[in-house]
Symmetry: C2
């Protein structure tokens, strides 16, 4: 029976502003064999969602934008922090609408993943939404400028393989979503062929 690690003590080290976006703690961590690590760094950042949304026409809703931690520009997908008391799915639906102006009929969870297996750094909740339709103008409060793009499935696949989604959660979400959609739509290739006529 494999045992998990235990927190013996946690000590706040630093926070930025009110700590809502970044705080760091120092933990004492006990291992199953009795070993204790006294200076284990723990990062507290907000949980977030990302959405892989496909339009009724089968295109991926994405953006070209700058991000502070990224060299040059990157492709991105709708996403953002979960607000206090908000469910991850509700956050995903809110962000899709705010950032792209689209609503989607069908939603599936792609899983919830801890961002740093050692230090925490929040949880990423990933979703895929299909049959998305345009509803209203964009109403985003993001600091960065975003250019909305509708990429065909094949163009999105190429961009994914080329590493153009340069942030880990975005590449994860797109790859997981496309696998999920392929599993559920064995007739996908034939329907693509029909689209091409």
């Amino acid at each position: 029976m494999m045992e998990t690690l235990r927190t013996l003590q946690r000590r706040p080290l630093v926070k930025l502003g009110d700590g809502r976006f970044l705080a760091v703690e120092c933990h004492s961590v006990a291992f199953p064999d009795g070993k204790v690590v006294e200076d284990w760094g723990w990062v507290i950042t907000p949980d977030y969602i990302n959405v892989v949304a496909m339009t009724v026409e089968g295109s991926l809703i994405c953006f070209r934008q700058a991000k502070y931690a990224v060299q040059g520009l990157t492709l991105s997908i709708p996403g953002g922090y979960i607000e206090a008391g908000e469910e991850p799915l509700a956050a995903a639906q809110r962000e899709l609408l705010e950032e792209s102006g689209y609503v989607a009929d069908h939603w599936q969870a792609l899983g919830s993943y801890v961002v740093d297996g050692n230090r925490g750094a929040g949880t990423a909740h990933l979703f895929v939404a299909t049959d998305a339709r345009w509803q209203q103008p964009i109403d985003a409060d993001d600091l960065e400028e975003q250019e909305l793009l509708l990429l065909s499935r094949s163009a999105a696949e190429e961009a994914l393989q080329a590493g153009e989604f340069k942030v880990l959660a975005w590449a994860a979400a797109v790859a997981l979503a496309f696998r999920r959609l392929d599993t559920q739509q064995p007739a996908h290739s034939s329907s693509t062929a029909v689209d091409g006529i």
Copy 2:
């Protein structure tokens, strides 16, 4: 022409121990529209690699293990921090051998992804390796106990879809690797059928 964000100033805030595994800075960041954010948190953690390694028999080399930031146990894949002066590919080959005892003939890069698009937190370099063969006993220096598992491709697909790789980089790597392998092996399903005879 979309512009990127600029660092005006960086100020160290805190580090754990010698700062090799975690340090935090406060940046002043200038946006293209002239706006400046003075308290932008920046997280410095080591760059790392993860490897999706498939044996000559077509099984995924993975582990069941505990991680401090994960509830319960999780499936994982070989990976670790890049050492000073080490190339990402060399780190991937070293970690695969140390953690699993396997070597692989064929390696492909799956891309390099910043872990936090806003705060940095290092870069994840992801790889897929095929035709892996057992070479030597495991020689890992990891703190956590790891149980080596060889999962069939279909079992690994199921585990991926079920969210059993609970850390973001591991799910990203496995999903990206399986998409890459599918793209390159259109005859994959028929060769699987042959294996099943």
